[in-house]
Subunit: 235 residues, 2 copies
DNA sequence: ATACTCTGGTTATAGCTTCTAACCAACGGA
DNA sequence: TCCGTTGGTTAGAAGCTATAACCAGAGTAT
């Protein structure tokens, strides 16, 4: 406690070196995950490829799960950025298709990383509370698309449930207000949650190779379900 | 080669004992998977709980992946049976909802087993060709529901793609004919694939606990997306 | 009944994993 | 110049899958 904590939070040479090695580790880990999925991530292999011995990694990450969660959080940011870059003007239906295409495009470009975010990677892996925040950033741009819609009868019960949810959970209300300040929050939530499920379904099946053989139906299937969704919210 | 292979394929006492132990192993493995997911399956732990030492398991299953694939195939049969038990008479829209509820119900009752079928369990796990057959048995009952529908414009491209798929792949044509001998195969396939993706999405999110906090919205969400699907196929 | 074979169990071991403990050199700040 | 913190090392514990070698006994054929 004598030669420490000057430069509170600033970039001492040590700190800069540390950050650089940490990002190198994450980069190598991402390559490994990209080749064999999350289960194929081996800290020993990362260390070897980085030119150090195994236990050295633990000076930078407390555990394998810590490394994974950090990658997951960054992954959420990445896909959120991809979706945000696809917000556009024009008819809500077209904007919805653009957002969906952006999500889908990112996922098929980084299939294993998508599975890392979407699936349950480790045995007893617990998603940190932060991850739901990041996930909300991903879905956020969908909210204003639906905020001006009118639910068809079939989706009315869902809208009712969303209404209750947003009433009971202030964090959700604030989230909706941040992305869709105007329009009906419950309708926006109903459409967004439906879009969420549909994206999850289509993309999950595609990245698992379930559409092998039937052309590149991922995109057309996605367009079809998104169109059905747009109809059911009355866009 | 002297005291063997009489009773070709019949149940000698040895064979019966073997089958019984195999099914005990699978049962214990299912419990472990039900508690911690596929990654938590340890052959050593299975052996210990069965009262034998580790390597004894390998007399019954060639590898951990072998055991997993066998469980997966049986799982497909189970969910297929659950869906098949929900086929009903009446309006197509109601039949669709009944099938979807059956699938959903089975999945939330066996969440880890569902993830075993839906996700990619092991690092380099390769789904055996047999599994697509079984998966088709699961989706089969959905085919006749849509066979009499008429695609809305938004799903027309998907129907066109399905038409090409069924033309180029005899196995698919036969599969459709077996479950929906009448009606348009392309329309049946389009609706079924859409239903598949929607089920996968809703159920995946639910079994991962993503709907925690917002009531039991799995069922209502499922009803909403299925209703949207029924609209888009014109049921 | 007796002799043989095949099978289901054992122990030992290799090689992999995550992760902890103890130690040491060297970098950077005072 | 001195000294503490840090980043690296080796050693090792506990666990995993999987293979090899071996052995007793159950079941079968003569």
């Amino acid at each position: 406690m004598r030669g420490t904590h000057h430069n509170e939070g600033m970039s001492t040479p040590r700190q800069r070196y540390r950050d650089q090695v940490r990002s190198e580790i994450k980069q190598i880990a991402l390559v490994q995950i990209g080749e064999g999925g999350a289960a194929a991530l081996s800290l020993n292999a990362v260390a070897k490829q980085l030119g150090v011995t195994g236990p050295a990694i633990y000076k930078y990450f407390r555990s394998r799960d810590d490394l994974l969660t950090e990658l997951i959080l960054e992954g959420f940011d990445e896909v959120a950025a991809a979706v945000r870059a696809a917000v556009s003007e024009g008819a809500p239906r077209e904007r919805l298709h653009a957002l969906a295409r952006a999500f889908h495009g990112w996922a098929v470009a980084n299939p294993h990383l998508f599975q890392l975010l979407a699936g349950t990677p480790s045995p007893g892996y617990e998603a940190p509370p932060e991850s739901v925040m990041r996930a909300r950033n991903v879905l956020g741009p969908f909210l204003p698309v639906f905020a001006g819609g009118h639910c068809r009868p079939g989706t009315e019960p869902l809208r009712e449930q969303m209404r209750r949810w947003v009433e009971e959970t202030p964090a959700v209300a604030e989230w909706v207000r941040a992305f869709a300040p105007e329009g009906d929050p419950a309708t926006a939530l109903a459409g967004t949650v439906m879009a969420w499920a549909q994206l999850q379904g289509v993309v999950s099946l595609e990245v698992q190779g379930q559409f092998a053989g039937m052309g590149h139906s991922g995109a057309t299937l996605l367009a079809a379900v998104m169109d059905a969704l747009a109809d059911s919210i009355g866009l």
